[in-house]
């Protein structure tokens, strides 16, 4: 492929694969060719072990924006399917109502996935209850128990209630918990039918579930519907001030493995005794491969190795940040009519990022940023600390315990500020 493209086309392709909104998902089965399986290897193994040992495991994956949650789970879903397990990957963003997610829609979305993927193992009775539930909700007796027609009807229902609040409220009100056609009961029955296939439901983007809903769905000691549903489930939620209440609710129960939080790819190792950090070859290698997986199909020589190294340092180990820097440097190279992405391009991209941080900078950030730089700690739970963590001013790592570091643009900004007013 590489030889056939001219520089401009190559730059175009690089801009595409490094765009933050680019989703390399080529099929429902996995995250695409450019996925590097080692990215979160340790974490992934823990999740896999938990799923392997407990068919009813309920797991939570949270993490800073852009650290690779969705990609990790897409790849796990593909692996689980290869093992013969039934996996319903529910993208809650795309399927359910904005900012107003109720468990009902979540169950229906999961049901749609299960019916689509595993109808041959579902009992006719389950399919029929599903049909009668839909017929009632949509007031349409024409719906048949044919799986394809069920899936279409489910999707249509979800997209209808997505944009229409009164309809949504009506649907929610018409549900009787525990009744035969309660979507949750239906989901449980489907999961029971599939028991032999060891089903896993992945709910991606739980951030839209309000804390109260999360509590009712996953934690309530009297009902705890989802917690008791058969089969395994993995929930993901980005860490941010907005979603924190929901995350707090969920992590109270789902503190799987050693942590529910997916850290950035570790660029540094911290010696807990001396509090010194050293480059982590392993982490840097992974980041190199993440870049290479996207660059190589275009032209493996087009990015200078030192530029890649610099971009990795600049990203702090956040994968989406790394992609953003790479994209920005492709643009810098194009502006100066270069044919290769060079160190100067990455430097310029990092400088741009620094200026963007400068615009959002608040003097009250400074003591905390300085402390992170010196001690690699962010142990107060003030709002400022949260702002810094979720806004990617500070990157969270782990080896054993959590510790923190500043990404390069923030380091630079801090140095500038100190020079200006020590």
């Amino acid at each position: 492929m590489g030889a056939m493209l001219d520089t401009r086309d190559k730059f175009r392709e690089l801009t595409r694969v490094f765009d933050p909104i680019y989703q390399p998902r080529q099929s429902e089965d996995g995250p695409g060719d450019s996925y590097v399986p080692e990215t979160h290897e340790g974490y992934r193994k823990q999740l896999e072990a938990a799923l392997d040992l407990n068919d009813n495991a309920k797991l939570l994956v949270a993490g800073q924006p852009g650290c690779g949650k969705t990609t990790l789970l897409l790849s796990m879903a593909a692996a689980l399917r290869r093992d013969g397990r039934v996996v319903a990957f529910v993208d809650l963003e795309a399927q359910t109502a904005v900012q107003d997610l109720e468990p009902v829609e979540m169950y229906l979305a999961a049901l749609a996935e299960l019916v689509e993927q595993a109808h041959e193992w579902l009992s006719p009775a389950t399919l029929d209850s599903c049909r009668s539930c839909l017929a009632k909700l949509m007031r349409d007796e024409e719906i048949t128990a044919e799986p394809a027609s069920l899936v279409t009807a489910l999707r249509r229902l979800l997209s209808m209630v997505r944009s229409d609040r009164p309809l949504r409220d009506e649907m929610r009100l018409s549900m009787k918990p525990g009744a035969d056609d309660d979507p949750f009961v239906l989901l449980c029955r489907a999961l029971q039918d599939l028991e032999a296939r060891r089903p896993v439901v992945i709910l991606d983007g739980l951030d839209k579930l309000p804390p109260e809903g999360a509590r009712r769905t996953f934690l309530d000691d009297k009902k705890k519907p989802m917690a008791e549903a058969p089969g395994a489930a993995i929930l993901t939620i980005p860490l941010s001030v907005v979603y924190e209440p929901t995350f707090n609710v969920l992590s109270g129960r789902y503190n799987n493995a050693d942590s529910a939080v997916l850290p950035a790819v570790r660029m540094w190792d911290l010696d807990p005794e001396t509090h010194r950090r050293t480059r982590s070859d392993q982490g840097i290698n992974i980041l190199r491969r993440i870049v290479a997986a996207r660059v190589d199909p275009v032209d493996s020589k087009i990015v200078m190795p030192e530029a890649v190294e610099r971009a990795i340092v600049g990203s702090g180990g956040n994968i989406r940040e790394l992609a953003r820097l790479m994209q920005a440097s492709v643009i810098k190279a194009h502006v100066r009519r270069g044919s290769f992405i060079e160190l100067q391009d990455i430097e310029a991209a990092i400088a741009d990022q620094r200026e963007s941080f400068r615009r959002a900078y608040d003097p009250s950030f400074r003591p905390l940023l300085q402390r992170v730089r010196q001690e690699h700690r962010l142990d107060d739970s003030s709002d400022i600390a949260k702002q810094l963590l979720y806004g990617l001013w500070v990157i969270e790592y782990r080896n054993g315990s959590a510790w923190y570091s500043l990404p390069e643009p923030v380091e630079q900004l801090l140095a500038h500020l100190e020079r200006a007013s020590p």
Partner: protein, 722 residues
Amino acid sequence: MSLEADLDDLRARLELAERTLVLLVVPSDAELDEVKRPLLEILRAIPLELADLGACTSGTGPARWAELTGTRPDAAAHVLSFVPTTEIEARAFASLLNAERSFLSKLPRPMLLLVSRKTELVVRRHAHDSFTWISHAYALPGARELRALAGRLGVHTQWVAPVPPPEAPIRFLHVSDLHLRPARVARYEQDRVLDGLVRLLERDRAEFPLDLVFVTGDLAWSGAAAEYELVIAFLRRLLEVTGVPPERLFVVPGNHDVDRSVGRWLLRTLETDGESLEFFVEPHARAFHRRKLEAYETGLRTLVGDGRSLGLGVGAEAVEVVEVRGTRLAVASFNSSWFSQGDGDQGKLWVGEPNVKEALDRIADAGAELAISLLHHPFDYLHENERRVVESWFERGFDLVLRGHLHENKTRSIASQRGGYVEVAAPACYQGSHWPNGCFMGEIRALARTVRLRPFAFVAGPDPWVLDPKVFPDDAAEGYCRTFSVPPKRRRKSGQSEASRVATQHAFENASPHQQMVVKRRVLDDQGPMYGAGVDREVVNRIAEELPELRISILKDSGVALVSAIEGTERGLDPALERIDVARAGGFELALRQAGRLFLEHTAKLGLERARLPERDANVGLAASLGAVVDAPIAVGEGLLRHHGPDITIGEHELARDLIELARPSKAGLRPKLEQLDRYGKVGDVRHVVLAVVGSLPEGATEPELERVTTPAGRDAWVLHL
């Protein structure tokens, strides 16, 4: 980076990227539109096929963008801008970006989102996740610098719009003060004047075909039915010779259209804004005064039919929208003669500020290009309470104001900080043939925003109506006609799109109680829209639902002082300060103590005697204190007005968690109140119940007392002594 370097970078990005989201950050919301134009010109000069998709509201998120871009699939990139009217709206937008981020991958081409620095910060702080989906945020300078740059780049020539074909004007006739009556001598004279006018119009029709006819009052002499027979006959002839259909005839009543014998025992004028609100909002309040105009109404309806305003409709009903050759004109007919009753009307008349405001909303909503207002009297006849504010609403919303009454022509163009209008006062059209009589014809060019006036006067002789050179003596070159330019308007639609309304409502519902209260109070406090009419309306609806009395009472009593004092504290003001989680062990008790302390501190500071504090004020005061302390929604119950529910509720509405009931120290003891709490406690999922006894501590106390008791039904309860 310098601006040039930034633009190079942006250009390169747009050249290379297939799809991406780019943020363009301008210094301020106020400058956003001004920056947008030169910016687009510079980018288009690259050249680049940019499609400007206009402005987003807080309800227009990526899902909607994906649909919008479909309308311009050919473009190389799309541009949207977002200007929030409030911080709440900006946050609603940020959370929409977050929620709909997966739709970004459905955008066909790069999307440039133009926002202010302030909005950028809100998105960065409140939608971290979505911020990482933005590939780059470019900081742009102000409009002046961009224009200068465009000049340097040589793209400024493109700003000159191509010369449009000359606009066909909309032609109108404005007459006023006909004073028709059947008396014999008068008949002869008025026929002479009016027949002459009809002949003029007939003759002029080919050269000056009329589209609209406006009559600004005093059609009759004393508001008697017999007079309207003459009026109708005249108007019918006038429409006939001009070919103007009755639906394009607009009439308002004047003081001579009022039947004074009916009005004799009616209210002479209004005294307060409150009365004005009631008079102009409640149809039944106007019923008696409307009878003064019965002959006027009955007469004119035979000509124009039912369903026309005729100055009798108020608010939105005063406005009629006509489309003339593709131009949408709004005509608002106001009745300034509701309170006319003989001599001495000056300073006693009301057109009704709420009436004018609603009319302007309707005009904006209808998307009118030009708005005309008809009323009989000059503004200085209005009551001093509303004169100034009505005038300023007129400046904000109307382009052409037509009036009569003084029998003297007067034309002027008013430019003010709000906009401004062209005011035309027509002379009398019949006041006896030896008095000056006259009228105006005019040409409206809505695109060019001009009004050209041709003044006519009655003189004796075989061709009694001639162009009057005395009105615009300096405009001989223009044939003694004058062209006024109409100041531009910024009309804001009252109801935003449904999606945006929903988002606003959502943001409002999810705002902290403190923010909600601030919004409510400012909306109630202010005459003009503060938060965009969408939020305002939502707030007013909710207030109307919650507390019908709040509107009138709460702003004036000690409760307001108390609430503002509490919310004005550092705790109350700063939403970022950590609030107590009442679900945490011991959290509730702590919250009660802290809120109690705040309450005591501020009642003391304001010198309010707690024992005498009206229950409603105590209630909102305590709710505000809780709002400043806990991290949960606080609802002030309907108990304020009707005793249906607890006074204060903490927690989600339908899952009410903690209930607080206010009480007074009483000899009968607290038992009845505790029983009441038991009743409330039966419904829903209730965690704590509290009886707050206001006034049970001596004045001067700074520390609330907290006591644990058991209710008659055996429920644990707190008693908070304040």
